[in-house]
Symmetry: C2
Subunit: 362 residues, 2 copies
Amino acid sequence: MNEPVLVVGAGLIGTSVGLAARAAGREVLIDDADRDRVRVAVAMGAGREWDGQGAPQLVVVAVPPAAVGRTCAQLLAQLPSCDVSHVCSVQSQPAHYLHGAGSDLARFVGSHPIAGREVSGPTAASADLFVGRPWAVCPVPGSGERAIARVVALAQACGAEPVVLPAGEHDELLATLSHTPQLVASALAATLTGVAADRARLAGTGFRDTTRLADSDPGMWGQIAAANAVHLARSLRAVAEPLRQLADLLDSADQAEVEAAIAELMGRGRRGRALLPGKHGRAAMSLSVVRCVVSDQPGTLARLFGDIATAGVNVEDFRVEHAPGSPVGVVALAVAPASKQALIDGLRAVGWTVTEGPEESL
Amino acid sequence: MNEPVLVVGAGLIGTSVGLAARAAGREVLIDDADRDRVRVAVAMGAGREWDGQGAPQLVVVAVPPAAVGRTCAQLLAQLPSCDVSHVCSVQSQPAHYLHGAGSDLARFVGSHPIAGREVSGPTAASADLFVGRPWAVCPVPGSGERAIARVVALAQACGAEPVVLPAGEHDELLATLSHTPQLVASALAATLTGVAADRARLAGTGFRDTTRLADSDPGMWGQIAAANAVHLARSLRAVAEPLRQLADLLDSADQAEVEAAIAELMGRGRRGRALLPGKHGRAAMSLSVVRCVVSDQPGTLARLFGDIATAGVNVEDFRVEHAPGSPVGVVALAVAPASKQALIDGLRAVGWTVTEGPEESL
């Protein structure tokens, strides 16, 4: 289907949809109440400015959460031959709005590409934002097959993997998978404001990784939270309550009880993590990790990955482990267990300082 | 100081201390109640088995937290010319034990290398575990200068950055920086156990990063928590309480109040994150991020980093962004803003699909 797409809202997601659809050869029209944002999106190559004419077949509403329902209702009324979708992090609230407004739901289906960034705005957009990511497509009662098919086709054109699921299930799931982690990361990072700046340097990679999401722009999170209040409240309590119980137990200072409670909580955490899919959606696979000391010089990584290629090894994942206070770092390389020895031998043979770890997922 | 070091406890940290000290040319003796672990550590090159003879000048106790105080007391009594330290995540409790036991505190100082892994045991050890990491050195009242100097020298020999601070301050800090993030990550990951396996694939990189620590071996965390109960209880409540308040506010469904509370919490989170040091201990610096689409083929990364070197650009940080369900991924490359255009031009010129983002910290 090579039908024109109208993107309404030229922020990070809308502009990225435009860039990705254009890259797939689709015609894209762009609209936004803020003409400056339209100009930026057009300049980036995300499509051409919509003049209210043209014949879009699918409209993608990419406006802030609180405005999604209203904007979809307007467009369903204004463009009676168009299917209308949106890309909002919350699905039930816009659907309720449209139901109440008496909109033509046969031409509507919600959607949500699961791809975000810690930054926002059209300049943060990229054509590859959705590559390989899930893209939830969320029919409401009455959603027509044509609308669903058009959104599925758009998601595929953007390189994403469409996953069709009901709006309510989406919202409950995203409260757990996205909205709660965001707020937990912020609450955890906020505790650092009570720490002297020269002591914060004792933070390790664990604190850093666990709080990375806290860099996010608060921007639309208030609207998202308010729109998904019931599921989010339950999901926040599912994290906060075990932590509060643990704090009470620590006050009682019964070592055996503390140890049992920690073992139980961490055991549940490990079982939860085991449900995450492995690389490329395959079942999680056990990888061997080889760690290589690198200097912070231009060309060092090129030499390292060149030597890895010479050793004939495919690296499944890698991560830089920072070395605060030192111009030296460590690159952790995850490879299939069968490739571990070839990698170690190949790198040592050409002078790299390499150590091996046991199997783990990076 | 090239004095023999006796490592008591051949787990991840003890064996890594042995490997790192040996790599720095120090003589290392190893002891462990479990002779199998000693044999593994010796085979890995972490030192030679201690026969109870020899003349160690410094003993490093690397046994489980609950046994640290007792073991230090025994060694202070058994080796009257030795200084004794340990590498425990908690400092005050062992110090209290030694005080109560009437040990010679002039020959004692606690310490704690801030370097961990999600895996444990001597086979997980590596000589570079401490490279560039902080290593807290925690004197107690009465700790002698010689003992402090010997531990500082050992930390430096292992490539770490010694940071001298009182035991109580260490424990309060680590509750915030390490113990609480561990348990928060577990509590968050545990919520996934209520999600169907085929839905867990909708988790994005945010959930994955925020819960990475939940893979940790529960192993000694119960002992650590019990030994740091007061600080940990306070720190856990500092995370749980704002989340619980937010849940209550969401129940009340006042959108303006929800948005204000989220903005406040996320604002505090961003201020906390800003206190984290940048790469190599420098002040955090703003980096430009360039994202490159890569295929999952051997040699792809070698070609990419080779082309980056040809462009004359030094990559400050990089991360693979997984592409579940697709044999394609994205490598996010963080570079100094002044290098961004050279990197984009250089990679595009040789055919890479590259998009630029705004400045951010990766």
